[in-house]
C-alpha cells in the first residue's frame, strides 16, 4: 500500500504564547495539535459563543483554514535556498499597521524555554533522525494580549486608504497566513505539502468553484518547485525545465526534449517528495515514494531523463537525504 503523503516527514514542534503561558504546537502525521488543548473543537465552539480563543486553538484553526489555500503555494518557499523573510516581529508590525481586522488570530509566540532556540527560517528542511520531535521555537517574547508587542511600528508603504470588506478580509487572511509561515521553515514545508495533498485528487472536498480553474496555479506551483531542483540535477538553467501536471496512474514522465527537461508529475509529488526535502538524491530525480516512513523510505528515482526509474532506499540525516547504507 502506498504510504500516506506525510509519511516522509518527521514530527516538528514550535512554541507559541498561549494566554498567560506558552504551549508547544506539534505537527505529526499530517496533523497539527497542542497537548495543552486536547479538545480543540470544543474550545472553538466555546469561542464562537463568546469565549476567549486560546492562541494555540486559533493557530490550529488557522492551519485548517489554510490547509487548502492556494496562496500557501503562491507565496511559500520554492527551494531550500528560498528563504521567506517572515518573522514574528514582522507579523506584529503588520498587525499594528493594519488594525484589529488583521488580528483575527492572536498567536504571538512565546519565548522558547531553555537554551537552544532556533529561529524560523533557520532550520531549513526537516530535522534529522533524533528521538522525539525537534523543536522550532519562534524568537522574541512579550504578551500578545492587548495588541502587538510594544514598539511595533507601522510599516512604510502600506496603504492607508479605506478598504472594502472583502479587502479587509483578504488582508486579515494574508496576515494569518504569514503568522503560520512565521512558525518556521519546517511548518512552511508541511503546510505546502498539506495544500498540495488537498488538491491532488481533483481538489479539496467542498472547494468553492470549479477546481479546473486552479490548474494554472497548480502547474505553476509544481514548475516553480521542480525547476530549482531539476535544473541543477541536469546542469541546466532552471528556466529550461518545463513542468506539467500528470493525471492518471503512474508517476508521470520526464524526458529530454533537446533543449531542456519536459516533465509531467502528479501534484502529489509536491507533498510526497519535494516538501520532505528529497527531490534529488544521489544524482536521481525522485519521482515518488513507494514505501516506508521517515527516517527511511523507498523511492522511485530517475538516473537520467527518459530512463526507467529505479527503486532506491534513502535515509534522512538531519536535513539531508542520501542513499541508505548498503544501497550503492
Amino acid at each position: 500500500m502506498r504510504p500516506a503523503w506525510w509519511a516522509a516527514f518527521p514530527p516538528c514542534e514550535a512554541r507559541i504564547r498561549c494566554g498567560a503561558g506558552e504551549h508547544a504546537l506539534r505537527w505529526a502525521e499530517g496533523r497539527l495539535s497542542s497537548a495543552a488543548h486536547d479538545d480543540t473543537e470544543g474550545e472553538l465552539v466555546l469561542a464562537a459563543l463568546g469565549g476567549e480563543k486560546a492562541g494555540c486553538v486559533a493557530t490550529i484553526e488557522a492551519w485548517g483554514v489554510h490547509a487548502d489555500d492556494l496562496d500557501v503555494l503562491a507565496l511559500g518557499p520554492r527551494s531550500p535556498a528560498d528563504d521567506l523573510a517572515v518573522t514574528w516581529e514582522l507579523v506584529d508590525e503588520l498587525r499594528a499597521a493594519l488594525g484589529p481586522a488583521a488580528r483575527s488570530v492572536p498567536m504571538r509566540p512565546g519565548p522558547a524555554p531553555g537554551a537552544g532556540r532556533a529561529g524560523p527560517g533557520t532550520g531549513s528542511g526537516p530535522p534529522g533522525p533524533q528521538p522525539g520531535p525537534v523543536a522550532y521555537a519562534a524568537p522574541g517574547s512579550g504578551p500578545l494580549r492587548g495588541g502587538p508587542r510594544p514598539g511595533a511600528r507601522p510599516l512604510r508603504g502600506l496603504p492607508a486608504r479605506r478598504l472594502s470588506p472583502d479587502q479587509e478580509r483578504a488582508r486579515a487572511q494574508r496576515v494569518e497566513l504569514l503568522s503560520l509561515f512565521a512558525l518556521g521553515r519546517p511548518f512552511q514545508q508541511r503546510l505546502s505539502a498539506e495544500v498540495a495533498a488537498a488538491w491532488s485528487d481533483g481538489g479539496p472536498a467542498g472547494a468553492a468553484g470549479d477546481p479546473a480553474r486552479a490548474q494554472p496555479a497548480l502547474i505553476a506551483a509544481l514548475a516553480g518547485r521542480l525547476a530549482p531542483a531539476a535544473g541543477p540535477w541536469l546542469g541546466l538553467d532552471p528556466d529550461a525545465v518545463q513542468a506539467a501536471l500528470h493525471e492518471g496512474p503512474g508517476w508521470g514522465t520526464a524526458e529530454w526534449d533537446g533543449t531542456g527537461l519536459r516533465a509531467a508529475l502528479p501534484l502529489s509529488w509536491l507533498a510526497r517528495v519535494w516538501a520532505p526535502g528529497f527531490p534529488v538524491v544521489d544524482g536521481h530525480l525522485i519521482v515518488d515514494v513507494v514505501e516506508g516512513s521517515w527516517p527511511q523510505v523507498q523511492v522511485l528515482g530517475l538516473p537520467a531523463p527518459g530512463a526507467e526509474p529505479a527503486v532506491l532506499s534513502i535515509r534522512a540525516d538531519r536535513e539531508h537525504w542520501s542513499r541508505a547504507r548498503g544501497e550503492r
Binding site: 520554492r78 508590525e93 502600506l158 496603504p159 532552471p238
Partner: protein, 503 residues
C-alpha cells in the same frame, strides 16, 4: 477566447512569474512597479487572453512573493488592493463584441443609453473671440472651433493664444494660456459659467488647445448661445439650431479582427508615431515590442506566422529594429498608413490654421462620438472629440508603460486619419482632463502634420466589426483662411498684429 486558451495564457503568465521570482526581484518602496510580470499581464489582459482579475491576481501574488523574499513587506499587503479595472463587472467593449468572457479594458462608467441624453452632438462655431489685455498688456484670443455637448455637459473646443500686446515695452509674453474669464447667456436669458480646462503645460507655446466648459449644459430647445464679453464687449453667438455642416460620414463593415491583432497594429502605430517625433526613438521601444510579441505567441494567443506578427516585424525591419523575428515584407503587406508614415513621418510642413467642423458619428463599439474641430500646426494637428461610453484607457501604454493602477489598454476603438493628399496621420497621443465639466472631451494628437495642400481630412474610427470614415473639410478660403475661419478681429491702431493662422 476558449477556456482552454485562457488557461494556457494564465499558465504562461504564471510561469513568467515563477521565472522572475527565481531572480529574486526587489520591488523597492510602495507604488507601481513595471516589472516583467506586470508588463506581460498588461499585454495579455489588453487582448483578453486572461481576464483582468487573473492578471491582477498573478501580479499581486508575484509582488507579495517578491516582498517576502526581499524583506520589503509593503507589497505583501498592498498588493491585495485590487485596482478598479480588476474588479468584478469591469468588461471591455471588445470582449463583449467578441462574446468573450475575457477582459481587456474598462467600460466607461458613463456608457449611455441608446438615443439617451448622453448622446454627444457638436455644432460648428468657427469664431474668434478677442480678449481684453491681461498681464503686461498682453491680450489673447479664443478661436472657438465647435461646441460639443450631451444632455448634461457642454464644452467649446478652443484654440487659445496670445494675439498681441498693447504696450511695445511690455514684458515677455506670458508662459501660461490666456485665461480671461468670459461667460455665456442663451436666448432664454439663462446664464452660464465658463471655465477653461485641459490647457496643459504652461510652457510658453504659441497655441493652447483647450476646452471651455459650460455650466450648466444648455437645455433642450435652446436656440442660441452668446459667449463673451471679450475685448470691447464683443460676443460670439452660437446657433445651436444650425444644420450639420458638410461632413460626409460613411460606415463600413469590416471583417472581425482579434484584439491581439489590433494590439500589434497599435504597436506599429506607436512605433511610427514615436519615430516621427524623433528619429531613432523607436529603438528604445524595440525591446518592449519584442516582449509583447513574445508574450502573445508564448501564451498561444497568436501564432508566430500570424500576418499581424509578420507585418509588425516587417515594419521593425524597415525601421531598423530587431523585433525578434521576421524580416523584410513587401510593402503591400503593410497597412497603407504605415507606408505613408515611413515616407512622410518626419514632415514639418503643416500650416498654422484651425478647422472648425462638427460631425456626430454613428455608434461604434458601444461608443458615441462627435468631432469638434481641429487645429493644425507645422508638426502635427490636434483633433477635438467628445466621447460618451468610451475612454481612451491606456493610450500610449507602449511608450509610457501603463502602471498597475491604470486600466489596461483599451483596444475597442482605433483611430487614424488620412488627408485629401493621401497622407496618413496616426494618433500619437490622447489627452483628457479631470474636470467634470469637460468630461468626455478628448484631444487627439495627429502625426505627421496635415499636408499644406490638403482640402479635407478623413477621420477613421475602427471598431470591432465596423469602420466609420468622416470626411471633414479643410479647404482654404480665398482670404487664406480655412472654412469657418472668421474675419480677423480688429486690432487697435498702431499695435503689432499676431501672425495670421492661415498663413
Amino acid at each position: 477566447m476558449s477556456g482552454h486558451a485562457a488557461a494556457a495564457a494564465e499558465i504562461y503568465l504564471r510561469l513568467i512569474a515563477e521565472a522572475e521570482l527565481r531572480q529574486r526581484p526587489v520591488l523597492s518602496g510602495p507604488g507601481p512597479h513595471l516589472h516583467r510580470v506586470w508588463l506581460a499581464a498588461a499585454t495579455l489582459a489588453a487582448v483578453g487572453a486572461v481576464g483582468p482579475d487573473v492578471a491582477w491576481q498573478v501580479v499581486s501574488e508575484f509582488e507579495a512573493s517578491a516582498g517576502l523574499r526581499s524583506r520589503n513587506i509593503g507589497p505583501v499587503i498592498s498588493s491585495l488592493r485590487r485596482p478598479s479595472w480588476a474588479r468584478t463587472g469591469a468588461r471591455p467593449h471588445h470582449a463583449r463584441q467578441y462574446g468573450s468572457a475575457a477582459v481587456g479594458a474598462r467600460q466607461s462608467p458613463t456608457r449611455p443609453e441608446a438615443g439617451g441624453p448622453d448622446m454627444p452632438t457638436a455644432v460648428q462655431v468657427g469664431a474668434r473671440l478677442p480678449l481684453p489685455a491681461e498681464r503686461e498688456g498682453w491680450y489673447g484670443e479664443f478661436c472657438l472651433l465647435s461646441l460639443a455637448r450631451t444632455g448634461s455637459q457642454a464644452a467649446l473646443a478652443v484654440a487659445a493664444r496670445w494675439a498681441g500686446q498693447t504696450r511695445r515695452a511690455a514684458g515677455p509674453r506670458p508662459r501660461h494660456a490666456p485665461h480671461y474669464e468670459v461667460g455665456a447667456v442663451d436666448d432664454r436669458g439663462v446664464s452660464y459659467q465658463t471655465s477653461l480646462w485641459d490647457v496643459g503645460l504652461e510652457d510658453g507655446r504659441d497655441w493652447w488647445d483647450c476646452h471651455l466648459g459650460l455650466d450648466p449644459a444648455p437645455a433642450p430647445g435652446t436656440r442660441w448661445l452668446e459667449v463673451g464679453p471679450g475685448s470691447q464687449g464683443r460676443r460670439v453667438r452660437i446657433d445651436l439650431t444650425a444644420p450639420p455642416g458638410t461632413v460626409r460620414v460613411v460606415t463600413e463593415p469590416i471583417p472581425p479582427v482579434s484584439a491581439a491583432t489590433r494590439l500589434l497594429d497599435q504597436a506599429g502605430d506607436d512605433l511610427l508615431g514615436i519615430e516621427s517625433a524623433t528619429t531613432g526613438a523607436s529603438a528604445q521601444l524595440a525591446g518592449r515590442v519584442r516582449q509583447v510579441i513574445r508574450d502573445l505567441i508564448g501564451s498561444g494567443t497568436l501564432r508566430a506566422d500570424d500576418p499581424a506578427v509578420l507585418r509588425l516585424a516587417g515594419l521593425g525591419w524597415r525601421l531598423g529594429l530587431d523585433l525578434g523575428l521576421g524580416g523584410p515584407v513587401p510593402a503591400r503587406a503593410l497597412p497603407a498608413a504605415w507606408i505613408s508614415l515611413l515616407a512622410d513621418g518626419h514632415a514639418h510642413d503643416g500650416r498654422d490654421a484651425v478647422a472648425p467642423f462638427a460631425a456626430d458619428l454613428p455608434v461604434i463599439g458601444g461608443a458615441r462620438l462627435a468631432l469638434a474641430g481641429l487645429r493644425s500646426a507645422p508638426d502635427g494637428a490636434t483633433l477635438h472629440v467628445m466621447a460618451s461610453g468610451w475612454e481612451p484607457e491606456g493610450h500610449g501604454w507602449l511608450e509610457r508603460g501603463t502602471g498597475p493602477g491604470d486600466s489596461p489598454l483599451d483596444l475597442s476603438l482605433s483611430w487614424r486619419a488620412r488627408d485629401s493628399t493621401g497622407r496618413w496621420h496616426l494618433v500619437t497621443g490622447m489627452s483628457r482632463g479631470p474636470a467634470a465639466q469637460t468630461r468626455g472631451m478628448i484631444k487627439m494628437y495627429l502625426t505627421p502634420p496635415l499636408h499644406p495642400a490638403a482640402t479635407a481630412l478623413d477621420v477613421i474610427v475602427t471598431g470591432p466589426d465596423r469602420q466609420i470614415r468622416a470626411t471633414v473639410p479643410l479647404s482654404r478660403a480665398a482670404d487664406g483662411s480655412w472654412p469657418g475661419w472668421p474675419p480677423r478681429a480688429p486690432v487697435p491702431p498702431g499695435l503689432p498684429t499676431a501672425p495670421d493662422p492661415g498663413q
